[in-house]
Symmetry: none
């Protein structure tokens, strides 16, 4: 039995989420602003948080920053579509996933499941075991620390932009697997892609310029012609 903390100032939304998730066997704890969320978090053992961004008193991003000071539990951010910039800053302050309102109930359930699975089931994740709680993803000498958002190659720190980081993180979380340009776009932007081919190519090039010794012959970020891109799984 997992406990999920749902935080939104709109009580209707909180109730709706409760209905969907309790049907799936989760136990719901509710809060209506950031302060209340932090209280509930102290009082209960929480396995996942669903956090709205726009809230009075203490907004979702502030709240998330507070949470991240001493917790690594999965956080799914909720945001209205109009506030799409929040996505980026939300993910940069430590969110694991986000969903835009209005949301598809089935999608929310799927994301909750996958985040809990990822968090609880360390055994087949590629988070390094030494530092479970620091959430380090790596392949070869390429490492990213999702807590600090630091990226290093051969121990040398690399500076990536938010979008570059998110693309690399997505591919590194699924290293070895090949994703099409569309899939990458949809996973990183959380939006439908229509004719977004070139955006990905440009970002890929920028990432390669930063993480690869020779961008023309990438060691990490490889293209599978006609299919997509992958991050090589190097032991």
């Amino acid at each position: 039995m997992y406990n999920i903390l749902v935080v939104d100032d709109d009580k209707e939304i909180v109730n709706a989420i409760e209905i969907y998730l309790s049907q799936e066997g989760y136990n719901i704890i509710k809060a209506y602003d950031g302060e209340e969320a932090l209280e509930k978090l102290k009082e209960n053992e929480i396995h996942l948080i669903i956090l709205d961004i726009m809230m009075p008193n203490k907004d979702g991003i502030e709240t998330l920053q507070e949470i991240r000071k001493d917790k690594t539990i999965p956080v799914i951010m909720l945001s209205a579509k109009s506030e799409d910039y929040d996505k980026i800053s939300g993910l940069n302050t430590g969110a694991d996933d986000y969903v835009t309102k209005p949301f598809n109930p089935l999608e929310l359930i799927a994301r909750v499941k996958s985040n809990i699975r990822r968090y609880v089931d360390f055994s087949n994740s590629n988070i390094s075991k030494k530092n479970k709680n620091e959430r380090i993803l790596s392949t070869g000498t390429l490492e990213i620390n999702d807590e600090t958002k630091q990226v290093t190659v051969d121990g040398k720190e690399i500076k990536l932009t938010a979008t570059e980081y998110n693309i690399l993180k997505f591919l590194l979380e699924n290293k070895g697997k090949v994703y099409s340009i569309e899939q990458i776009y949809e996973n990183v932007w959380n939006e439908e892609s229509y004719g977004a081919e070139n955006i990905i190519a440009v970002h890929i090039r920028h990432i390669r310029e930063k993480i690869e010794i020779n961008p023309k012959e990438p060691k990490y970020l490889k293209v599978i012609w006609g299919i997509g891109y992958k991050v090589e799984d190097i032991k």
Copy 2:
């Protein structure tokens, strides 16, 4: 074949949507107000609804609430940009997606596809999870991993192009069975074949060159003279 119910009091918009979506192979059912929409919903098996918010008689939000009383099918709301944002955000709990008018046809198509895919995918997600672990196809020492798109023979990695990979995957998924050139073409290209004999032959040769020790006497990819090709089922 999916049936899409399009509801808008503006007939021009309904017709425009019909044109876009029927080109994509969807079957369109039309309604011009909320009442009519509910009727059509009873009479037909509908897979997705596109629902305008501002309508006479029964508006989109009321209609949505009615629908949600006993249906969970995906609903995409249509709204003019000028319309009150609160009203739109008020429907947070029921709609799966929304598009503002004037809309980009490609965007609408993309959203329709994604919502149908999500709905279908998530609703049999328990089944598909089982299959996910069986992403490796093999015969003899020939193996392909559809997640990483890696192909190996005797443990040695082989590089195939996208088309070569798709042909091999199709035949390997149905190993032992013989398929005509037309059948292979239609399954791999998803199009009618029209004098495409030689294309297949060329690709077959390329595949053999890569996976066979002696392409002249293929061990895996065999021809059944006058009938077609198969991948041998080797235990």
